[in-house]
């Protein structure tokens, strides 16, 4: 275990892991269908430098970051989203409890959901999905929601909190509201807008992940957040694209770099609108599955998990041999409409 930890914190690996985007852009774009237009985003990624690596790797260190280190919306992409956690601005109460203050801005924004395809989204902090908020069980969480969007919105958290913090009341356009509650229980939760009509407020992009770490931290691992969603471009109550972290086929074109024997922990959230379930299937491997992350022992050892809307769970696994391993929705239709990707597993000593 300590070996893993050491490995994780070596500067060399930091840079390598952070370079995921750069490497993968060179590596893999031939394997699966994509259009000409999709190629443009690849170039964008090439242009990025590994300077972002440190930002991208805040996750696994479990350290307490201030929001100042978070990425601006236009710097964000699904790869960076995997490992970008918002720990809030931290302070202590007199009684020693930790207070975490977050700021979420609701805004209308045109985003790219697939190669060349634009979508007029409603966003939390300018990206879909919204920021991954992270706290430790027992922390006081204060989320200031500033609604700069053209419609009333709210934030409804999953977890335990009083009724008046449940986000059923909308925050009118141009005003703000601060949600305050204690982070509990530990586990993997989510948040989303709860303004009616609910369907539209969710499918237009107002959702995100809320992780409550147990007081005794989970074993160190490479932690990745994957939010499964869909985009209905023409408002016909049917999704044209399915994605993980907001862009169709992204991880197809930008495989996630892993190491042999590296422990991987995926925080998997399903917020797909219109379809009853979404799923994840891991190729050539099995994972331990912790539904909602609320129980320290896994419920399952499997390679496919299906989730209804709002369901989420933690997956843990490691690869034994180097190579390219696919992961995708095991609804073939979703896979072929964008929800598929690769892990590029490299030898441990490279």
């Amino acid at each position: 275990m300590s070996l893993l930890r050491d490995k994780f914190f070596s500067r060399r690996d930091l840079l390598k892991l952070g370079a995921v985007g750069t490497l993968s852009a060179v590596g893999a774009n031939f394997l699966l269908p994509k259009s000409n237009a999709a190629a443009q985003s690849k170039d964008d990624l090439r242009a990025q430098t590994i300077a972002h690596a440190q930002h991208a790797l805040q996750g696994p260190c479990n350290c307490e970051m201030s929001t100042a280190n978070l990425l601006a919306a236009d710097e964000m992409n699904p790869t960076k989203f995997l490992t970008t956690f918002d720990y809030g601005v931290v302070s202590q109460l007199a009684d020693g409890r930790t207070v975490r203050e977050y700021e979420i801005i609701g805004e209308d924004k045109e985003i790219k959901v697939a190669g060349g395809v634009k979508f007029n989204a409603w966003t939390y902090n300018g990206f879909v999905p919204g920021p991954t908020l992270r706290a430790t069980e027992g922390d006081i969480v204060r989320v200031k929601f500033i609604n700069k969007g053209s419609h009333p919105h709210s934030i409804h958290f999953h977890g335990i909190h009083p009724a008046n913090m449940d986000g059923l009341e909308s925050v009118p356009s141009g005003s703000s509201f601060t949600y305050e509650f204690t982070a509990e229980p530990f586990g993997l939760h989510l948040y989303h807008c709860h303004t009616m009509p609910l369907k539209r407020h969710i499918h237009k992009g107002l959702y995100g992940t809320f992780i409550v770490d147990p007081k005794i931290p989970r074993a160190p691992a490479t932690e990745l957040v994957m939010v499964m969603n869909g985009f209905d471009l023409d408002q016909d109550a049917e999704n044209e694209f399915y994605t993980v972290n907001g862009v169709a086929f992204w991880f197809n074109e930008h495989p996630i770099e892993l190491r042999v024997n590296e422990r991987v922990r995926i925080y998997l959230v399903n917020i797909t609108e219109f379809d009853p379930i979404n799923s994840l299937h891991l190729h050539a491997n099995l994972f331990y599955y912790y539904p909602t992350g609320t129980n320290p022992t896994p419920r399952d050892y499997t390679d496919t998990v299906a989730l209804g809307q709002g369901e989420r769970g933690i997956l843990e696994f490691q690869y034994k041999t180097p190579g390219r391993y696919m992961f995708h929705a095991h609804q073939s239709e979703f896979a072929e409409l964008g929800w598929m990707g690769f892990f590029n597993v490299k030898a441990a000593d490279v």
């Binding site: 269908p33 000409n36 237009a37 060349g116 395809v117 979508f119 023409d234 044209e240 239709e333 072929e336």
Partner: protein, 398 residues
Amino acid sequence: MTEMNLSQPKTKTQFTARTLALAIIPLILLAAIIAIFLATNAGLQTSASVPPGTLAFERVVLRPEQIIFSVINSGTSEITIAQVAVDNAIWESKIEPRATLQRLERATITLNYPWVENERHEIKVITSDGISFKREIALAVETPQPSPQMFLSFALIGLYVGILPIALGMLWYPFLRKIGKRGMDFVLALTVGLLIFLGVETLSEALEIGGRVPKPFQGTGLVTIGVVVTFLAIIAIGQLNRGRARDDASQKLYLAYLIALGIGLHNLGEGLAIGASYAVGELALGAFLVIGFIIQNLTEGFGIVVPIIRVRPALKHFAALGLLAGAPAIAGTWLGGFLYSDVFAALFFAIGAGAIFQVVYEIAKLLGKESGTSAWNALNVAGLFTGLAIVYVTGLLV
């Protein structure tokens, strides 16, 4: 006053700069009005967003493991093709010459897709604005490619639905010669009935296809032009011919040729429909369709020879009439099978309809002359009804 009156004849004939100005002033004012409207929008609050573009599908070609189709920007604003899906799977595509299309610009999209013979597929083009345009491939079959064998097969289909039934219909000529003056009027009226039915049918076909034509090409307008221009052009040609001294017999032969021409244009459209439906695999139930056409087209051969019952032209005229009316079916199947386009199909059907209506007009005139004062006596009206009924009943077989 007097002076002005005197000067009037002069201004009528002289084309001066002032006349030019008089012609242009309304246009300048028009431009000004449009500019004012664009600037003020008549006070209406309109959103800044441009209306979403529209994309129309044109020809879809299936080759082994490949789907090739062309689209045209039929809207008013620029449009960018971002993604292409087949059967709800995003697929790699090659877009030529480019993905951003201006108004009326075309792109050809090639997909390497393992389509399945005799099954349904759907192609979907998604624009950068997230709008989807779909086209169904009802029954996938490989698109016929021009080859000597294909040309021959199509020619044979054209022969079956065009030349052969018309030739058979013309074989009634000896029988028709045995009937008297009143019988002759009856069959002339019957021919009018046949042709009215055929003309309306052709026109409706033209309008139906015209409705599918990309909007900027104005299918209905195109059909109107096709019908009216053809109708009047044939009359004009007729006037030219009448300038020369001609006897009654050659005038009647001329009328037979007009009928043959009109029917020929109609059969061109029919061939086009057969060829096109063969190309998209819809002729799976084709044998039945062809038989229907054969039976109905028998009546066309009959109609052609009616005006020349008393004339007895040389045999070569019969051959020429038959070919003029029937052979276009062959050309039609070729065109429809290899180069089908809704725009041209609508135009061909419109021309056919115009030609047929012109023939109706000619025969009605002839009938008036033959029957003396009242062309539409009980007998002739009965003839016309019989004509309509015959095509209707034979049409039930299609």
